[in-house]
């Protein structure tokens, strides 16, 4: 056994250790698409609910609905549709990316990914439903950002390290959205929209697609 062989073996081992523990089939393009969907959805809500951007009242600036029969229903339907389309897009693109790389998307790393994002997402979903029932509609966007960010953070253990940064930023935006609650939708557009697009661009540039 000569030294070149040993070096080749070692680099192969390294890539195996990496490949077997990381789910790298998350597509950068799906980040961009989800970001665009979000901006479209938020614009639609602003248009449909005829929200004015700012209104200065006695309690400071707030976002208000000028006129709408049932803003809650429209918001919930739009949100559910957005999430559904986003998840379908992300899964579809991941499957395609894995196929292109000649790998299976369903491997031990992706199973760990699913398990680690499940807890924060399910908790967040429960908090969102409770907020809806209790009528804390403004809490929806901040709650979504915080728990989604936590899910990304815990999932980043088995994926790109950029995912961790994205998760932390989502949590920070979510907390800001809690602090400035009437602007929740704007923070949501920033987090789920703009940040996803930036993240997608970084992944495409760095890892190619």
């Amino acid at each position: 056994m000569n030294q070149d062989d040993v070096l080749k073996d070692l680099s192969h081992i390294r890539s195996l250790m990496e490949k077997s523990t990381k789910f790298i089939s998350i597509s950068g393009w799906s980040g961009i698409l989800v970001g665009v969907y979000t901006l479209v959805a938020v614009s639609f809500l602003f248009w449909k609910l005829k929200m004015s951007w700012l209104r200065f009242g006695s309690s400071g600036p707030t976002l208000v609905y000028l006129e709408s029969a049932s803003p809650v229903r429209i918001i919930v339907i739009t949100a559910v549709l957005l999430l559904l389309v986003s998840v379908i897009t992300a899964v579809y693109m991941a499957l395609k990316k894995a196929e292109k790389a000649g790998q299976s998307a369903w491997n031990p790393a992706s199973r760990i990914l699913l398990v680690s994002v499940a807890a924060p997402l399910l908790t967040g979903g429960a908090v969102a439903v409770l907020s809806l029932i209790k009528g804390y509609y403004f809490a929806l966007a901040p709650c979504f950002l915080v728990f989604y960010g936590l899910a990304l953070y815990s999932g980043s253990r088995v994926s790109f390290k950029e995912l961790r940064v994205l998760g932390i930023l989502q949590v920070v935006l979510g907390l800001l959205a809690y602090a400035y609650m009437p602007f929740g939708l704007l923070f949501f557009a920033l987090g789920f929209g703009v940040l996803h697009i930036l993240y997608g661009a970084v992944i495409i540039k760095k890892y190619g697609g």
């Binding site: 056994m1 030294q3 073996d9 081992i13 195996l16 250790m17 490949k19 077997s20 031990p108």
Partner: protein, 99 residues
């Protein structure tokens, strides 16, 4: 520099076995089909090398059922982990000796 070959492991001299151990070093356990796909080798090749690792007590076999279908997973033992680390040290020495 004198080479200390006491750390060099005959079982791990085989490339496939070294690769299997490397996957089991960084994962709690790994199932047969995922290993096969990752290493891109045939059933028979993988099975025989797993058998050797099992005989050396470097790995342990966990047999479970998922939806009544057998699912065989493998886990690195403490002995196997030590052998892997030692073997890497030996390889490192081998490389350094030539410089």
């Amino acid at each position: 520099m004198k080479l200390d070959l006491s750390l060099y492991d005959k079982v791990l001299e085989n490339r496939i076995r070294l690769q299997i151990m490397s996957v089991l070093m960084v994962n709690e356990d790994y199932d047969f089909n995922s290993l096969k796909e990752l290493l891109d080798i045939t059933d028979g090749n993988l099975a025989s090398n797993l058998k050797s690792l099992e005989k050396a007590e470097y790995i342990e076999v966990i047999k479970t059922f998922i939806d009544r279908k057998p699912n065989t997973r493998y886990r690195g033992t403490e002995k196997g982990r030590k052998a892997f680390r030692d073997h890497l040290v030996a390889l490192e020495q081998l490389i350094n000796s030539g410089r």
